[in-house]
Symmetry: none
Subunit: 197 residues, 4 copies
């Protein structure tokens, strides 16, 4: 049963997804409303009908991408009881999945735009804080379970997520020096040194 309402929402999500893909591939500045429209299988006018301004559409796209990854994390972590496995899984999901990882390219975009526009910066801080909260929670869980040693979980999360960012940049850019496998090894080693008892 396809009511008008659900149809509208489906198409809206379609547009957001199309925009996300396009930005990850070509970069915000090079994405045309017509590219998004074409990808979403509708007319330019209609994309504008949903999203009156280009920047608005793009912000939505980035947020949608992150929300999807968050729920992925939630599902994955809920299954794991062992603190180390839980942490490893989180790093696995959060860190870049390889050259041109769309999610990470969106972050590159977000960093740049945040540096230029205060409104976007607010959005960035929110998204960023969310990831750090997730990591902090995982660390706290490990401490509670007696598996991790951490005097300041929030600070450790900050440091660890910085390493995730730094190495993911390399991986996303296809650095010859850092494969995804090596990145994960380094991340896990860092985590063990930081939290291991």
């Amino acid at each position: 049963m396809t009511t008008r309402r659900t149809k509208g929402m489906e198409r809206e999500a379609l547009v957001v997804a199309a925009a996300g893909e396009a930005i990850a591939e070509r970069g915000l500045a090079n994405v045309r409303m017509s590219d998004v429209a074409e990808r979403a299988g509708m007319t330019v006018g209609h994309v504008s009908y949903y999203f009156p301004s280009k920047i608005e559409l793009l912000m939505r796209a980035i947020r949608a991408s992150e929300e999807q990854r968050w729920s992925e994390v939630e599902v994955a972590l809920a299954r794991l009881r062992d603190p180390w496995k839980r942490l490893d899984k989180l790093l696995d999901i959060a860190a870049s999945h390889g050259a041109r990882d769309p999610g990470w390219v969106l972050w590159f975009q977000l960093w740049l735009e945040s540096a230029l526009d205060a409104d976007v910066a607010r959005d960035h801080h929110e998204l960023d804080a969310r990831w750090r909260t997730i990591l902090t929670d995982v660390i706290r869980y490990g401490v509670e379970q007696g598996a991790f040693e951490s005097v300041d979980p929030a600070q450790d999360a900050m440091l660890l997520s910085s390493v995730v960012d730094g190495l993911s940049i390399q991986v996303t850019l296809g650095s010859p020096d850092v494969s995804r496998a090596r990145m994960l090894k380094l991340l896990k080693a860092s985590a063990r040194q930081m939290l291991g008892s």
Copy 2:
């Protein structure tokens, strides 16, 4: 004595510097040839005369910015004999100097463009490798002096520079959670844990 040649080079450098500033402030996509021209005190036509294409100008600007920071590093490190002081100084120069640090905004731009364009990616790797080489050399020097303990200086440089990147992103974006002072403290602590004997 101002020959035609030196005059030409001066103006060229002027244009490159102007472009760098403009990109750091407004972002590559929002910089117009006329912005650059205005900043450099010349006409659009003349900027085009020096740099036939926009993208070429922009790449030059980023490279010039980095080269300046490298020579800054070279001068500063040459004066210091103590390995820890040398390392601290390097981190001090390399890490972000605060919200909207122009040099770091250019890196944001570079990461993004590298993800989208293979030619730019090559340039990025070169610039990035250069920084890592500098850090590796500093670590090796510390090991030679008996001050640092490092089995794999290149790998430690990779990890440490990742933390620099990750935290500098926060500082450059004016994160309420990471001031420059706190970032430097965290960086030094990380370095000590990593290399301290």
Copy 3:
């Protein structure tokens, strides 16, 4: 008792009124079907359902506005027996009521459109002639009553209504030189010089 028919007519009138207000405030060219719809408390689709074309709606709006003022005149004049009072009252109603008087802004619009479109010009002449007829009748009434002296009432009406137009333009545009009060004084003085015996 609200039959389907009366309900339809009510809503149609609502749309026409909304259109009139909108045009007076923003000008025909800047009025969107959606503006009218919003004002009338219905959807764009529904406004289009009543008025298949935009121009048609707008013409209707102007005519409706004038018809309302005519009946206002009719009611007011019927009560007055004294020729001078009747003339003064007519001038009072017909002349602009101040800066941005909606009725007069619609006339500005009508003059412009009439100059560009022969169909509209026909409508304008009709509306304009109607006003002049009303004025001519008032003058004739004054002559019959022995109060006015006029060899050619139609010509006097033409002249007097020209002054009304000319001064009302100033008042509607908020000219610092002509307040509504001063305009009325000038109008009455002109009338007395023209028709006074």
Copy 4:
């Protein structure tokens, strides 16, 4: 000798003239930048190069049209010594020259826009005041020469120019009741009644 500068000014004037014609013929809202460009024999981009916004171009066009008529008046009046001839000549130039008189259609446009936009209103008042000043000066000249009788030349100018406006509207709209000849006769009669001794 065609320098770059004079060439630039010529083309700018060309654009302004083209815009004026186009607006008078089709109305501001229906004039496209491309219409103006085509008329002026250049590209749309170039018209925008001279006039960054449409409204700006249009204001310039109206002002240019009036300035031309003012200098026409100046030349014509300078030749005439007789006060009545001078006044008649002014009315002759100022009043509408027939159906669709381009200058008057521009005034229709100006009245409308002034009612909707305060910035335009300021411009209108300035243009309008200029005409009234010219008329006032002509009346004062007549009084000085002992030919006219006027207690308040400014007020008489206001009234007379109102009649000019009111009748010119009729003539410009091709009213079957007012030919240009009849308008001029009425205007001169009004002037004589108002100022005649």
